[in-house]
Amino acid sequence: MNAAEMAELERAAGQIWDIALRLGLDPFPTHFEVVPATIMYEFGAYGIPGRFSHWTHGRAYQQIKTMYDFGLSRIYELVINANPAQAFLLENNTVLQNKLVIAHVLGHSDFFKHNAHFQGTSRQMVETVNVHAERIRRYEFEHGQQPVEEFLDAVLSIQEHVDPFPRMRPREPAEPPRPPRRPETAYDDLFYLGEEKVPVAPPAPRKVPPEPEKDLLLFIAEHARQLEDWQRDILHIVRQEQLYFVPQMRTKIMNEGWAAYWHLRIMRELDLPHRDYLEFAQLHANVLAPSRRHINPYHVGLKLWEDIERRWETPSAEERERYGRPGGQGRQRIFEVRTEEDDVSFLRNYLTADLVEELDLYLYQYENGKWVIVEKDWRVVRDTLVASMTNFGQPYIVVEDGDYRGNHELYLRHRMEGNELDMDYAQRTLGYVQRLWGRPVHLETVLDGKVVVISHDGTRPSTRVLEGARG
């Protein structure tokens, strides 16, 4: 974009902002930075500009770069959940493409500001990750690049296992009840009157954790014995950054659908010349293109939002009667839904039989060397989809016991939701967990209906089958 185009885009940005507000959006103030493609790849790879160095980020950078060099996807939007929100525009996009991105980003910015699941997130993450990166750089300087990299490898292999709801965890007692004091004077018993005189039973040994703990990073940071301070700090750093990403992972379909819903409406209001409108329609269609093996969150999300709006704006006779929907509440309803739901409840509550059919959703499976469609019943499709989004699509793994066999071994359990683990990956990941924990580690899961325990003692993994299935 040259200077004239920048000026045009600035004007359009102001216009888009006004339209967004007029339509009812309430985004954070949003700052757009126009960047060259390499910078965009980089921010895409790191998720947030300035995050710590690690080869996996370098790999992501290379993958994204390759993809864009092949022209697989040229409009790329990246927006940081912050106040003010920060977003990036590609320098060599056309003005029209960037208008579309600005409109789209304002949808995200509104979503970040209002959706309930983002309310606990830090809005200063860019500053935070830069401080983190600086600390990790210092650790590399103090302890050597390789030990830091190896430790990060291990932490990143379980980075998904954090708990976004720490406040819902039952509080542990700050310390175990103290054993009764020995009498200090011969007259102590005079201070105890009647039934107060009995504190005798020794306290039961405290189980660690008292309840199954979902936050592996936190548990290891707090309970692994041989970790050094810098290692515990890295666990906390990775955990904190992961918690920033969790709400985005939980609301992918809603959030992208919401942004698509609004870019469509804002662009319509922009009074584009006919030629630009055609280009826009083409871009929009590309964004919505369905994928045979994945759910395109832009497409599915957009259709859900439009369907909700329609059903509350102009309810059918049945809906009016059964649910007492008066009609004319379309916009109001979608704003309520964007505030309250996440992908799991969004799909469970609003993915209807008609939508499953219209979107042509199905389930497929690997059979005899081929990927085959195996299910089209809308309820099964919806429920499987919802189940696959539980815990944002990651296996749900908890710490059962941090002192297994009284030997300070770590016992993890995979809570089955029906899907089986990739055993090869599980064994290798467990090797990393062992490195972090410093003592033998175990993971209980279910394979072919049997309870299986994988163990890793630091040299090699082993697997044993327990009798019978556990509920």
Partner: protein, 388 residues
């Protein structure tokens, strides 16, 4: 943009921002390390030894994939989306990896379905890794050969030279130093004494003459595995010699009961049948050396690959004699015996060669594909030249 809207647009200079490329370089270094660690597995891949030098091959590297707890996609149902007419039973993809969605970096869920990382590397780059510290052993200073391409290197600094070769940084430094010595540490007041010029030397490498005699058993007893190993070894050897040396001649000889000199293409493609008389090959090689490569002027390296299944004890003894004759004139004699899965015939050529007690003789037994790389390393480990 004004305070009217809470929206702003800016364009900064990002030219100094290098974080992505730095981490990418780290990743590439790890890929290289991983390839080096797995060379033994990689270099015996059929796809690689049939490839051209500039062809990019995909090398599976598992260790570079950071594992995590994940579901087994092949055992679970997943959701997809058709274009309006999908039906149960439709096939939406063939074998292999789960398609990779254009990811959006972290948060999009790490690309599903990648079981290992596939590094891309050209066969030439791979060869460079394989040969990094290999060379022709015991190479002697014999009749320096045809001059090889001269190399120009800037490696010296002088006070005189053409202005186009002025070393500005050093000149500036000299000027500053001289001024400082004179009491005012500034740049300026230039004198010819301050100027420094880069100058070059012509780097002329001279190489000794060397000839490698590649002998290959093509008799009927050589099975698929034996042929494959032989091809694989010679593929890397030829590539190695051509990469590292400009003046090495290679003579290709095949044999069953009779030996003949063949061209490179025939050498790699020939499959014949019949009995085996190894001595025929050694005899031919000796004759070729005597006629064309006088040992006074040439470093000589005979190599022979066989399953060790020779015509009989008489010929084994003849071979032993011929090898001893060779050891008088050659720099190294390499013999590779291929025994799939380590099976042992009662009387193989190798057992006869056990009687040789000369450091110039190197015998290697190969029992699996992974042994090709160690064999290469044993034959081409650079040793100090032995006293003549």
């Amino acid at each position: 943009m004004g305070g009217m809207h809470s929206i702003s647009l800016q364009k900064q200079d990002w030219s100094l921002h290098r974080k992505g490329p730095i981490d990418q370089a780290r990743h590439n270094a790890k890929v290289r390390d991983a390839i080096k660690r797995n060379l033994a597995d990689i270099i015996s891949e059929e796809a690689i030894i049939t490839a051209d030098g500039d062809k990019i091959v995909k090398v599976p590297i598992r260790s570079l994939d950071l594992p995590h707890f994940r579901f087994d996609n092949r055992r679970n149902k997943q959701a997809g989306q058709g274009s309006g007419d999908s039906r149960v039973g439709d096939v939406i993809g063939g074998n292999g990896q789960q398609g990779q969605a254009p990811g959006k970096g972290p948060g999009a869920g790490e690309m599903p379905g990648i079981d290992y990382y596939e590094a891309e590397i050209s066969v030439d780059d791979l060869a460079a890794l394989v040969f990094e510290d290999l060379g022709l052993p015991n190479l002697e200073d014999k009749g320096k050969a045809e001059v090889t391409a001269p190399d120009v290197r800037f490696n010296e600094i002088r006070r005189h030279g053409p202005l186009s070769n002025l070393d500005k940084r050093r000149s500036l430094l000299e000027n500053l130093r001289r001024n400082a010595r004179e009491g005012h540490a500034t740049v300026g007041n230039w004198s010819n004494d301050d100027l420094r010029f880069k100058t070059w030397v012509q780097d002329i490498r001279q190489e000794s003459n060397a000839v490698v005699l590649a002998m290959r058993d093509v008799s009927g007893s050589m099975g698929e595995f034996e042929k494959y190993i032989t091809r694989s070894f010679y593929f890397w050897m030829v590539r190695f010699l051509r990469t590292k040396y400009d003046n090495v001649r290679i003579v290709f000889i095949t044999h069953h009961t009779e030996a003949k000199e063949v061209d490179e293409e025939a050498f790699f493609n020939l499959g014949e049948s019949g009995g085996t008389k190894v001595s025929s090959a050694y005899q031919l090689a000796l004759e070729i050396v005597k006629e064309r490569y006088p040992p006074a002027l040439w470093n000589i390296y005979p190599f022979h690959f066989s399953d060790g299944d020779n015509w009989g004890e008489v010929d084994n003894q003849r071979c032993l004699d011929l090898v001893r004759q060779f050891l008088q004139i050659c720099n190294l004699f390499g013999y590779g015996e291929i025994q799939e899965g380590g099976r042992r015939s009662i009387s193989t050529l190798m057992s006869t060669f056990h009687h040789i007690n000369d450091p110039k003789f190197v015998g290697v037994t190969i029992t699996s594909k992974e042994d090709v790389y160690p064999a290469l390393r044993r034959f081409f480990q650079v040793r100090e030249a032995l006293p003549a």
